[in-house]
């Protein structure tokens, strides 16, 4: 189906939170792909640059790669077979309604994703609260930036990834990049780092690995996994000791300094050296670089965030900004490099267990009343807060847990921690309904698979890491029978008795979202599709202005006051504590996990892109030569990693760029090389973020063993595995 609406369509990349501008050019009928990706040099974030993932984005549109027909499974253990939309939707709606009637509404769950457009995230939340009336909705953003979101709100009273446009990075004096490998995960952002360095600024990278990003750094600090909280406290200690506290800023624009200072005094440099392994000289140098310039930024990513103390760790880095007056001022501040494409917008509009649209709290009576009015329901009928993503997944198929799950745009069989456990929970569901573009490892377990339209086939807004609301536009019609997610929600809602209120048209959905968000923190009410197009995106908050004086949007936050009740930023009172699981005699090494340049998240799209798969065909285990020598392992040899939760195998990749006490494994692959079979489901007490970034493992040379009774995707071959069959 190669239908090209117009020769060129300006849109954005389907992958990460930069949401790089790109242009799609329609190709003639008969071409292998319906469109090709070309430059869009006028969009400010990436100024035309794209990484390999963006360049090759159109490959997932190829016929045969993606789902084009609904699938149903007639019996547990049986194969998936093709079905009509009516049959599949009837089956899904019957399961959603039947489970609710039989076991109570909260026995129905909804699991969303950070790649969904704002419109989808909004209507998915509304679908859960209004059509299903379940409290149990959450999404994979919990696994992404929830710790930074919580720390943001604790400190600033507001959570937006970056409080400034990304381009400001080029003009700041120093950037401390904590646990981000942006050179691999968002390559077009590197230009701002380089410009910053060319302008005389310096880059400090904190990462247990010498990543491609660390190679760019003026100073690389390599703390042991799970110790960056101590590192941040140690740097704050030196800031105090060396007289770099901006006392006027602390006095006039912050609160909570005394407790934060006392905590820092308990983390003196020599102690921090003992905890982190980073020599005191390195701590000193970092403080010199950060305080020498008149401005500075600290940017965190998944490293500090995906820990069972992620909120505290991010809070400690924010403290460093606050103590030095590097927040709430031009060219300075703390920011989170959000991961997923709509990680930002996805958390603002109601697919999070405790939130309603506009970043409102579902526990706040005023917020409930406002949203209920927009939705035309009684506020008393709205459910309360549900449980977080991992807790939701861990409850599947259990007594009192969720028995029927609607899953949209997520692949937890690969991306959730302790994935063997999660997989077995998913298998215990009465009914799993998956809306996805491809037959992901999770979709392959579903009872009903609803084929979704994807990025170039549908229109909708996304909110990038800067809080910039941008517009993706459809360039081609959905392939085969695929329908947009909005269309699917509309169809399901209708079957559940809600003919109205679930518009399939994205602009209509956005209009309702604007009204629902009005007056909330993430206020979109002044934003419309026309403005987004005319202004290269609009930064929220953007309340509705007068016709002759529209609100300009808010590219830079906090310059006058922070969004707390008293306008002051709050220091976090935090102390270092160990990871949920530290190495011991039985599991003597740290495992840390992450991403590679040519793959994205659970790999559902990128593993189906030949160009990317050639570049990164399978998982691997990074280890230091001394560890390799001790284990008697050579380059490329198959290694088996074992944790208390599972086992994974992948070939050795020996590099001096990693600590000898740590191994690294990327998490994009399923089956035997699934890193998340190993990771720990210890949760942060506030954000409920699982501890992806540190757990204890044992590493051995892999011995080929026949696995007894393989189950689910555990039996899928490992590196470079074949994709699951549609019918098996």
């Amino acid at each position: 189906m190669n239908q090209t609406a117009v020769p060129f369509v300006d849109t954005h990349c389907p992958y990460c939170s930069l949401q790089c501008g790109m242009r799609l050019r329609g190709l003639p009928s008969g071409a292998a792909l319906p469109v090709e990706v070309v430059e869009r040099p006028d969009f400010p974030v990436n100024r035309g640059a794209l990484c390999g993932k963006g360049h090759s984005a159109a490959a997932v549109l190829a016929p045969g790669t993606r789902l084009t027909t609904p699938l149903v499974r007639d019996a547990k253990g049986g194969p998936l077979r093709e079905a009509t939309w009516d049959e599949a939707l009837d089956r899904a709606a019957a399961a959603l309604a039947g489970t609710g009637e039989r076991y109570g509404r909260d026995a129905v769950g909804v699991f969303g994703g950070g790649a969904l457009t704002n419109e989808k995230a909004y209507l998915l939340g509304k679908f859960a609260r209004v059509a299903l009336r379940t409290a149990n909705i959450d999404y994979n953003g919990r696994f992404c930036m929830s710790s930074a979101a919580a720390a943001h709100r604790n400190a600033f009273g507001l959570d937006r990834g970056l409080p400034f446009p990304l381009a400001d990075v080029a003009r700041t004096g120093c950037v401390i990049l904590v646990g981000s490998n942006l050179a691999d995960t968002m390559p077009p952002a590197v230009r701002y780092i380089r410009e910053m360095q060319e302008n005389g600024g310096s880059l400090v990278v904190v990462d247990p690995r010498r990543t491609r990003t660390a190679d760019l750094a003026d100073l690389h600090l390599a703390p042991a996994p799970g110790t960056d909280l101590a590192l941040a406290l140690g740097l704050l200690h030196l800031v105090i000791a060396d007289g770099h506290v901006d006392a006027a800023f602390v006095a006039s624009r912050t609160s909570g300094w005394e407790a934060a200072r006392a905590a820092a005094m308990a983390h003196w440099p020599e102690r921090v050296e003992a905890i982190t392994g980073v020599p005191v000289a390195g701590l000193r140098r970092a403080v010199e670089l950060f305080t020498a310039a008149g401005s500075g930024m600290i940017l965190t990513a998944r490293g500090p965030e995906q820990q069972s103390k992620g909120v505290d760790t991010v809070g400690a880095w924010i403290n460093l900004c606050l103590a030095t007056g590097r927040a709430g001022r031009p060219l300075s501040g703390y920011g989170c490099l959000t991961g997923q494409g709509n990680g930002q917008g996805g958390r603002e509009h109601g697919q999070k267990a405790d939130q309603l649209p506009g970043y409102r709290s579902i526990s706040d009576p005023a917020a409930r009343a406002h949203v209920a009015e927009v939705w035309g329901v009684d506020a008393g009928d709205l459910p309360g807060p549900g449980v977080s993503a991992y807790e939701l997944l861990d409850s599947l198929g259990t007594e009192g847990g969720v028995r029927t799950l609607l899953l949209m745009g997520s692949n937890p069989v690969v991306s959730a921690p302790n994935a063997r456990q999660v997989t077995s929970r998913i298998e215990a569901l009465d009914t799993l309904i998956v809306c996805d573009v491809v037959l992901s490892e999770t979709a392959a377990l579903a009872d009903v698979v609803l084929p979704s339209a994807q990025w170039a086939e549908e229109t909708g807004t996304m909110t990038n890491l800067e809080g910039r609301v941008i517009l993706r536009r459809a360039a081609v019609a959905p392939a085969g029978q695929a329908r947009t997610d909005l269309h699917i929600l509309h169809d399901l809602a209708s079957r559940l008795g809600h003919e109205k209120g679930f518009p399939a048209d994205p602009e209509e959905a956005f209009t309702e979202l604007r009204a629902a968000s009005a007056g909330g923190q993430a206020d979109y009410s002044g934003i419309d599709y026309a403005r987004i197009a005319a202004e290269d995106g609009v930064f929220w908050p953007c309340p509705a202005g007068e016709d002759d004086a529209p609100h300009p949007g808010t590219p830079r936050l906090f310059l006058d006051r922070f969004a707390t009740p008293d306008g002051r930023a709050r220091f976090a009172d935090v102390s270092h504590r160990p990871a949920g699981e530290e190495p011991d005699a039985e599991y003597p090494l740290y495992l840390t996990t992450g991403r590679v340049l040519a793959q994205y998240q659970s790999g559902a799209q990128t593993r189906r892109t030949p160009e990317l798969n050639r570049a990164a065909p399978g998982a691997f285990v990074e280890l230091h030569p001394r560890l390799a020598e001790r284990l008697g392992v050579v380059e490329g040899e198959a290694l088996a990693l074992t944790s208390r939760r599972g086992r994974a195998t992948a070939p050795a990749r020996i590099t001096t760029g990693i600590r000898p006490d740590t191994v690294f494994m990327p998490f994009h692959w399923p089956g035997e090389s699934r890193a998340n079979s190993l990771t720990n489901d210890a949760l942060d007490p506030q954000s409920r973020m699982p501890e992806f970034k540190v757990c204890a493992v044992r590493v051995e040379r892999a011995v080929r063993v026949e696995r007894a009774a393989p189950s689910g995707t555990d039996s899928t071959p490992g590196a470079g595995s074949a994709l699951p069959e549609a019918t098996r």
Binding site: H220, A241, A262, E270, A281, H624, R630, P660
Partner: protein
């Protein structure tokens, strides 16, 4: 079933006590515990590891305050007795207070070296052990009737690290000086004095507490204003503390001489070559160092005017700083009938010989070991916190590795384990061009294990070495590889 909050009394408000309080209250369910610290010092708990930084002006004294997690902290409160049967403790002001759980975190006292004329009053003969039930904990202040013995004499040599043989000052000395202003902020009506060093000759300073430190800083400032020339200081003791004090005084522009009895500096932690590197570093900072020298007597009547060495030489000075190590403060425990050897004896659960009484920190002896450093003290505090808070009621402390670690201006020193050549095969690397004072590194190996190491001047490998040592990892075939900073480019 609503149980009343359990009352945990902690005698002492030093680093171990603060850590315990912060950890217990962070982990315990809210409202289940009432935790009170009783500290005889006038200050809230502070970070003793940073005192040299107060002396050289890097930290204002109030910046050293440690978090205590919201515990009740009673400063200036001397606990004078414990009744382990009745579960009560008694304070100097006459209060009797009940506890459910008692934690002794009484810390350590500075060791006073056997030097003539150290005190303003001549020493009397040592009386028989005091018959009173309670020995006070106060270094300063404490009520006059109390003896101020630091506990039984140490067995098998000193608990100190730098000063050679020392002795416990005899008990029963009457108060000799009126209270200093810092002491007079509250407390009983009788004169307060008789802390172990309250009657030291004017100009003689121990270097253990924040008050010691601020008094020393004030004394240097006063002397500077009073004297026509820059005041001169002598530091007695060349362990970590003495080296640190010498560096800090030198940084203040005070001409400083260090007298050390052993043939080299920091001989408990370093080998001869490392000691020499440290000595050269101090000398290039402007200090004079006399090793293999013992101070025999202080000179001067009212105030100290100099130090006479055992070899007959006399050095003139206006200030003397005593840095001769510390010894566990066990008097209170001993008087309460709790088992004390060199320190208060504890088992792997941090329990003493008395029911519901635990002990942590510098005052303890665990498996025959006493420590005077923060690492093991905090490891003990963390273990006890896990037990008392209920987070891990079965947590145990089986000992902790301790690294001697000193940052003295631009001079960085780290050492652990066995460092003499006799301990095993040694690998040495010295580089006179590295860092401000050159670098020296030594690995000591037995078989394929690292049993000790020294790093002076370049600590890039510290994380790698301590992990290899503490986890007992086998050495790589080329042990020198351990000294390469890792990952490449990670350190400086």
């Amino acid at each position: 079933m609503t149980a009343a909050a359990r009352r945990i009394a902690v005698v002492g408000a030093g680093m171990a006590a603060a850590r315990l309080a912060q950890q217990v209250l962070a982990q315990a369910p809210p409202g289940t515990l009432e935790l009170t610290l009783y500290g005889h010092e006038p200050h809230a708990p502070y970070n003793r590891a940073l005192l040299a930084g107060v002396l050289d002006g890097r930290y204002p004294p109030e910046a050293l305050t440690l978090p205590t997690g919201g515990a009740t902290v009673r400063t200036g409160t001397e606990v004078t007795g414990v009744d382990t049967t009745a579960h009560t403790l008694r304070t100097a002001s006459g209060e009797t207070l009940p506890y459910d759980t008692l934690v002794l975190a009484t810390g350590a006292n500075p060791v006073l070296p056997p030097i003539r004329n150290l005190h303003t009053a001549p020493l009397g003969p040592a009386p028989a052990p005091h018959g009173r039930a309670a020995a006070p904990l106060g270094r300063r202040p404490s009520p006059p009737p109390s003896p101020w013995a630091a506990g039984p004499p140490p067995r098998g040599g000193t608990g100190g690290q730098g000063g050679g043989p020392s002795r416990s000052r005899p008990t029963g000395t009457p108060p000799a000086q009126p209270p200093t202003p810092a002491d007079a902020h509250e407390g009983p009506a009788h004169p307060r004095t008789a802390a172990p060093h309250a009657d030291l000759k004017q100009g003689v300073h121990p270097f253990r507490t924040l008050s010691d430190c601020t008094r020393l800083a004030e004394a240097t400032a006063t002397l500077r204003a009073k004297l026509p020339t820059t005041p001169r200081a002598i530091v007695i003791g060349g362990g970590i503390l003495g080296v640190s004090a010498t560096r800090a005084l030198t940084a203040l522009g005070i001409p400083t001489e260090l007298i050390h009895q052993a043939p080299q500096l920091m001989e408990r932690h370093l080998d001869e070559q490392a000691g020499t590197t440290v000595r050269r570093a101090l000398e290039s900072m402007g200090a004079a160092v006399y090793t293999d020298n013992r101070a025999r007597a202080l000179l001067g009547d009212e105030a100290v005017t100099g130090v006479e060495l055992a070899n007959g030489h006399a050095l003139t000075c206006d200030l003397v700083v005593l840095a001769c190590g510390v010894r566990p403060r066990t008097g209170l425990a001993g008087a309460a009938g709790i088992e004390v050897r060199r320190g208060i004896v504890i088992d792997d659960t941090l329990a003493t010989s008395a029911p519901d009484v635990y002990a942590i920190g510098d005052c303890t002896e665990h498996r025959g070991e006493i420590h005077g450093v923060t690492g093991p003290a905090w490891a003990q505090a963390d273990t006890l916190a896990a037990r008392l808070s209920g987070k891990d009621p079965n947590a145990t402390y089986t000992g902790a590795h301790s690294t001697a670690r000193l940052t003295a201006g631009a001079l960085e020193i780290a050492a652990f384990g066995e460092v003499t050549d006799a301990a095993g095969d040694a690998l040495r690397l010295a580089d006179g061009t590295r860092g401000a004072y050159g670098s020296y590194k030594k690995l000591v190996m037995r078989g394929d294990r690292l049993v000790g190491a020294i790093l002076v001047g370049d600590l890039a490998a510290i994380g790698e070495l301590t992990r290899t040592y503490e986890r007992g990892e086998p050495l790589p075939p080329r042990p020198l590889d351990l000294l390469a900073p890792l990952p490449e480019g990670a350190a400086l």
